[in-house]
């Protein structure tokens, strides 16, 4: 067991993978000399040189496009998008190229690249630097999607993403970088695509991912003090989606709350709520409840920002009322 931050685990995953596989290259804005806007790639340029840790101009579309071309010609690129909020500039290269190339070309070639980025609220960064846009990716066939909540997953999911045959969008959460955990990285990790039941309880199932896993765990602890036992599922990857684990827990418990930081309408929570309601229909004592981000942009005002996304209190309140 060693204590490590989410940021350090990500950095170690990159360093270890790059040591093992000489074809892995990083490219993105400030990934080299600056060490990454959030420090994830700090000093990797010293270790691997500027031909494997490539500082790019501010050209998100071409960064992703270059990664696509590199992946098609034998490299394993890890492109960094500094904020997931900038995905809008890359959506054509991501959704029309990376996601569809294997299919359009009849399976001749894949695009084994990873797009690392980070999202979420927590830094008063405003409407264009605080979003949770994973739904765009989840709605695009051909793209895998991983969103680690824990330090161990930050390491293992990134290592696993780096051996997947298809493009993986890997979304970190800016509020988790400094989170510390004791981890044993030699312990056998959960397989790629498997959800983790972080806590088991028979009263309600909370299905979530990324930072909201911690809010859900905090809520579960509070609920326990009031005699309510919650199961907390950390999906870890949204594509593939481990619905079997969700189904198993929900059919046992009969109540589900799905939590996501992204805006509620047509978001990831909608997919989860719909699937649970459709496929666990006869097992539900109560309707599935979505706890999600408000259908509004994020403000810089810390008060408004905090008010725009779910926290433990809302999850607790929702669970208690559901069980009332």
């Amino acid at each position: 067991m060693v204590e490590m931050t989410y940021r350090e685990a990500l950095r170690k995953a990159l360093a270890d993978a790059m040591t093992e596989n000489p074809d892995i290259v990083l490219l993105g804005e400030e990934v080299g000399r600056y060490g990454g806007a959030y420090g994830v790639t700090r000093d990797l340029i010293k270790e691997f040189g500027e031909h494997r840790v490539i500082d790019t101009p501010i050209s998100e579309a071409a960064i992703v496009g270059a990664a696509v071309g590199a992946a098609m010609t034998g490299l394993r690129p890890v492109a960094e998008l500094m904020y997931v909020d900038f995905i809008g500039m890359t959506m054509d290269q991501l959704a029309n190229q990376a996601a569809k190339i294997r299919y359009m070309f009849g399976g001749q070639i894949g695009v084994p690249m990873v797009l690392r980025t980070q999202g979420g609220t927590g830094r008063s960064a405003g409407a264009q630097h605080s979003q949770s846009l994973e739904a765009f990716v989840m709605h695009t066939p051909g793209l895998r999607l991983a969103m680690p909540a824990t330090v161990a997953d930050a390491y293992h999911l990134l290592r696993q993403a780096l051996v997947r045959p298809d493009p993986v969008v890997f979304i970190e959460h800016k509020a988790l970088y400094t989170m510390k955990e004791d981890v044993d990285l030699d312990a056998e990790p959960l397989p790629w695509g498997k959800a983790a039941v972080r806590r088991s309880g028979d009263d309600v199932v909370i299905v979530t991912y990324s930072r909201q896993v911690h809010h859900a765990m905090a809520a579960a602890a509070t609920l326990a003090q009031q005699g309510v036992e919650a199961t907390v599922i950390d999906l870890r990857t949204l594509n593939p989606l481990d619905f079997e684990t969700v189904r198993g827990c929900v059919e046992k418990v009969g109540r589900a709350i799905v939590v996501s930081e992204g805006v509620m309408t047509a978001g990831v929570g909608a997919e989860l709520s719909a699937r649970i309601s459709e496929e666990c229909f006869d097992f539900l004592h109560d309707p599935v409840v979505r706890v999600a981000g408000e259908d509004i942009p994020i403000s810089v005002s810390p008060a408004l920002e905090a008010g725009s996304v779910p926290g433990p209190a809302l999850i607790v309140e929702t669970a208690l009322r559901m069980l009332a």
Binding site: Y34, P57, S59, V300, S301, R321
Partner: protein
């Protein structure tokens, strides 16, 4: 307050006025830094324009009241040069209700339609194409307005700049693209971002009037800007690169470990304010004492902006749902209300 009835700070281009405006910008930016240190700013994404005041002041001096503009994330100085109220700016940077955007926008999203400020932008290059649209409006209304896009050297990496320049040149729109080249995009020096740093050559290749001017001398900047803004008004869209140096880190937390002392000292020596000051003294335009008096007066004014901002209240939580859509439209339904309805059955 509209551009018409407000004295556009920069619009007087005699050196004393240019000096005063540059000095106000720097004094304000220093106070922004202090607001952050005092933990009163909304976040740490505060980008100071210290060292590049001549670009903001020189170009705004060439603009008319009906003109409009967009800025990048480092836009405090430009807006001040245009005549912004520093108190409301500081309040916005503090995320307060009294700010220009009621605390929703902050440092990177200040705007004021009254002064023709179509908005600062936290997306590098994001505000550039809007001036093409503003140019179409001016052509349509025949109001003789020019629209200026201010952006940094880093934005020259964004394809949308070239799409926009191509359109402006094709349609001969009253538009100016102003690149404030402070040599850095975060930790990346311009020569690590492009093979040809003579940026105006690109603009010319698209059919625009393109110039590069040294930002050390605000009068030269103002002169070049007047040439290009007047040209744009006459249907000859242009591009102006102002060469300067980013004196401090990218944002409040960046200590610029990626560049060396010597380079920084050289860069900071290119100080447009010190340069203007020296010229006024040597030219006998204003005496040292008079300039000191101006500085003291300005610093006092700017000190007051901090006290003002700190004293302001946070926006009310309910305002969160306002302005997603027009006020005539229903506000988005809060998540709580939706949860209530779902659980109402119990």
């Amino acid at each position: 307050m509209t551009a018409a009835d407000l004295p556009i700070a920069g619009s007087n281009s005699d050196l004393a006025m240019l000096y005063r405006t540059m000095r106000r910008v720097r004094s304000f930016e220093e106070r922004v830094g202090e607001l952050f240190v005092r933990g009163q700013s909304a976040g740490s994404m505060l980008h100071l324009s210290i060292g590049e005041e001549s670009a903001a002041v020189g170009v705004c001096a060439a603009m008319k009241p009906q003109d409009t503009f967009t800025t990048h994330h480092r836009g405090h100085g430009i807006f001040l040069a245009r005549g912004a109220d520093p108190k409301r700016m500081m309040a916005e940077i503090g995320g307060k209700e009294a700010g220009y955007c009621h605390g929703k926008g902050g440092s990177m999203h200040i705007a004021d339609m009254g002064l023709g400020h179509l908005g600062a932008n936290a997306i590098v290059g994001g505000g550039i194409p809007a001036v093409v649209g503003a140019g179409l409006s001016a052509r349509h209304k025949g109001n003789g307005a020019v629209s200026v896009a201010f952006f940094g050297d880093g934005a020259t990496g964004q394809g949308i700049l070239y799409e926009s320049m191509n359109m402006a040149a094709l349609w001969k729109l009253p538009v100016l693209f102003c690149c404030i080249n402070n040599q850095y995009g975060m930790g990346t020096r311009i020569d690590n971002a492009t093979a040809n740093t003579a940026l105006h050559e690109r603009a010319r290749a698209f059919g625009l009037e393109g110039e590069t001017v040294d930002g050390l001398d605000v009068e030269m900047v103002a002169e070049a800007a007047r040439r290009l803004v007047d040209g744009a008004r006459a249907g000859r869209p242009g591009f102006l690169a102002v060469e300067c140096y980013r004196f401090f880190g990218h944002a409040r937390k960046d200590k610029s470990p990626y560049r060396d002392q010597a380079e920084e000292e050289l860069g900071r020596a290119k100080d447009p304010i010190a340069f203007a000051r020296a010229r006024m003294i040597s030219g006998g335009l204003l005496a040292e004492a008079a300039l000191d008096a101006i500085d003291t007066e300005i610093d006092a004014e700017m000190d007051a902006t901090i006290d003002f901002a700190v004293a302001q209240t946070e926006p009310p939580l309910a305002s969160m749902f306002r302005d997603v859509y027009a006020l005539t439209e229903p506000e988005p339904e809060p998540v709580r209300t939706r949860i209530d309805r779902v659980l109402a059955r119990n």
